[in-house]
């Protein structure tokens, strides 16, 4: 063993692709969608900020291995922070985004310092408690949040002082896409860093990492805070692009849906979060435009199907079936098998 082995080991363990590749692909696909489907820009915006939320959830659930159902608190506080900032202080979107990100990070750090002392089912239930308490406080603080009526009446200044938010949502969609790409790049870099590896190690064996001298709680808290910042950014984008923040952005349903998207796409691999968000949001959009209750039929059936036929297994089977089409595909299939 020589010291030159260390960097290759770090690079090989999670993946070898350069950190800018996935964000670049997302940017290309996003801009292509923006250009080709000008009548679906609202949907594209929604997909972008939901993908950022699921990405942040992936850092907690997939990378750090902490099952949470309270992610909606981080999303909602980011949304409210951005909305209140725009209404009371300054309508600039980038400053609002920073406020939302900071609010998410602060709440994550404060609640994480309490939550991370517990694990498993207790942690899960306490995250629900934090989310519900946040929602109750938001409902109570009518003067600031508008309570049940929601927070509205704020308008956004042009982005960077130049690009106004237009009615069709052209700027909004690009803005949401841009925030997603930056968030994705940050997440990729962090997950592939030695710090990210340490958190993965804690996920796999907490006791062993503690024995190796890793400060377990501190590492988890740092990751949770980062995830909070990303979730806050997602909330801020949702508030800024829709110009309204409702109490439903703090509801249990947001947490549950984000978790479903994550599992659908595959946890722990970042790109799974994006795929899950896209598939689920498209499914939601299509089914609920037919009938809001049919939508639950479709999602319920999809969830049960995902468990009975896990996507990863189905992918492997498909890959093995079509292995003759390309050497690269068959090689990766053999790798996973």
């Amino acid at each position: 063993m020589t010291t030159s082995d260390a960097p290759t080991a770090i690079c090989r363990a999670p993946r070898c692709a350069p950190p800018w590749r996935l964000p670049a692909i997302v940017l290309l696909i996003g801009v292509a969608a923006w250009w080709l489907m000008p009548e679906q820009l609202g949907l594209l915006t929604r997909i972008a900020f939901m993908a950022l939320l699921v990405l942040s959830l992936d850092l907690v659930v997939g990378v750090a291995g902490l099952a949470t159902l309270g992610h909606t608190a981080l999303f909602g506080i980011g949304a409210y922070a951005a909305g209140i900032f725009a209404l009371r202080v300054h309508p600039d979107p980038t400053l609002g985004l920073l406020m939302g990100t900071a609010a998410g990070a602060v709440l994550a750090a404060a609640s994480g310092a309490f939550l991370l002392r517990y694990s498993g089912f207790t942690f899960l239930m306490l995250t629900i408690a934090v989310a519900q308490i946040t929602a109750s406080l938001a409902q109570k603080a009518r003067d600031w949040t508008g309570g049940d009526d929601g927070l509205s009446g704020f308008t956004m200044a042009p982005l960077f002082g130049r690009f106004a938010f237009d009615m069709e949502g052209r700027t909004a969609a690009l803005y949401a896409l841009g925030v997603l790409v930056v968030g994705l790049y940050v997440a990729r870099r962090v997950v592939d860093s030695p710090f990210g590896l340490a958190v993965r190690g804690i996920h796999e064996n907490r006791a062993r990492m503690a024995a190796l001298g890793t400060p377990v709680i501190a590492r988890l808290l740092a990751m949770y805070t980062l995830a909070g910042a990303l979730a806050g950014a997602a909330g801020a984008v949702s508030a800024q692009t829709s110009a309204i923040v409702g109490l439903d952005s703090l509801s249990f349903a947001v947490s549950a849906e984000a978790l479903v998207m994550l599992i659908l796409g595959g946890a722990g691999r970042l790109h799974g979060a994006l795929i899950g968000a896209v598939v689920f949001t498209l499914l939601h959009h299509t089914a609920s435009s037919i009938n809001p209750y049919h939508w639950l039929f479709v999602v319920g059936a999809a969830l049960m199907l995902v468990v009975l036929v896990p996507p990863r297994k189905a992918w492997d089977r498909l890959r093995a079936r079509f292995a003759f089409l390309g050497g690269k595909a068959s090689a990766s299939a053999r790798e996973t098998a």
């Binding site: 306490l126 519900q132 409902q139 109570k140």
Partner: protein, 288 residues
């Protein structure tokens, strides 16, 4: 004084409903290690069946109640035998996803069959009348709920500790393979256990219909409350669920009387404090 008595009695009734629904979940979650998030849906089905039977079919409440409970239990047994038993060995996340999916599906089905409006259960005159307790008049229904809750607690405690079925259950939980070798019908015990849990949920759904209105989203709305009761009480501990149910029921009722504009803040605050104090639950049997 008057207020305190009101809070205590209403809170006790509410806590009993929470306990009756949570008891089944506590057993499947703590003893069988199966995360069943469709438990709220069973309560909803029981309530809907009773509402349909009493209102549409004009049945007597006393006939509709046992039939709804038995039917919910049978549905639970059927689901367990056909699908859910294959999930016992899967990861918790898989169990969560499948049962949440099932809940969504049942919500959509309920809405398609019965519509989105709140369902009312027609109470018999005996339960609908009021009784004078000296300091206030109270619907007999509340007292009935408290009585049934106590009965469930006593019978369940007796069944688990004193009967052959209880011995089988604990043996099957501790080591299924050894229990099977010794002639314990493990599959039957698991299925029966699940069915009883579902039936109890159905009972809670019927009895609690006045406190927790029956509508399609019932299954999801009250699931969190029931999960909280199980977590605070300690998974697998029936007595813990009883204590947690009553404590949280009283906290929730008190906050509704005194500080309704704060929503369910105090309920979840109480839960966070209790869980922070005893992470394994109030009365957890042994260490996890």
């Amino acid at each position: 004084m008057q207020l305190l008595a009101n809070v205590l009695i209403d809170g006790l009734a509410y806590g009993m409903v929470l306990f009756i629904i949570a008891a089944g979940l506590s057993v499947t979650l703590g003893l069988m290690r199966f995360v069943n998030l469709s438990h709220g849906a069973f309560a909803m089905i029981g309530g809907y069946l009773a509402a349909m039977l009493t209102r549409e079919a004009q049945w007597s409440f006393w006939l509709a109640l046992p039939l709804a409970v038995v039917a919910t239990g049978a549905l639970g047994a059927l689901l367990e035998a056909l699908v859910l038993r294959h999930l016992y060995r899967r990861s918790e996340l898989d169990q969560v996803l499948f049962t949440i999916g099932l809940t969504f599906f049942l919500i959509a089905a309920t809405n398609a069959l019965a519509g989105p409006q709140v369902q009312l259960i027609v109470l018999p005159p005996f339960l609908a009348q009021s009784v004078d307790l000296g300091f206030r008049t109270l619907p007999v229904q509340r007292l009935f709920v408290i009585g049934v809750g106590l009965l469930v607690a006593v019978v369940a405690a007796f069944a688990v500790t004193r009967t052959r079925f209880g011995v089988w259950l604990r043996a099957a939980v501790d080591h299924a393979e050894t229990a099977a070798t010794l002639g314990v019908p493990v599959r039957t015990v698991q299925c029966a256990c699940f069915a009883i849990g579902a039936a109890l949920a159905g009972l809670g759904g019927v009895l609690g219909a006045e406190l927790m209105p029956l509508e399609p989203y019932y299954a999801l709305k009250y699931l969190v409350l029931v999960l909280v009761v199980v977590a605070v009480g300690g998974m697998g501990s029936l007595l813990g669920s009883l204590v947690a149910g009553i404590t949280l029921g009283i906290v929730e009722t008190a906050s509704k009387y005194l500080a309704s504009e704060w929503g369910s803040l105090f309920f979840f605050l109480a839960m966070a404090v209790l869980l922070a104090w005893r992470p394994q639950g109030l009365l957890r049997r042994g260490a996890a």
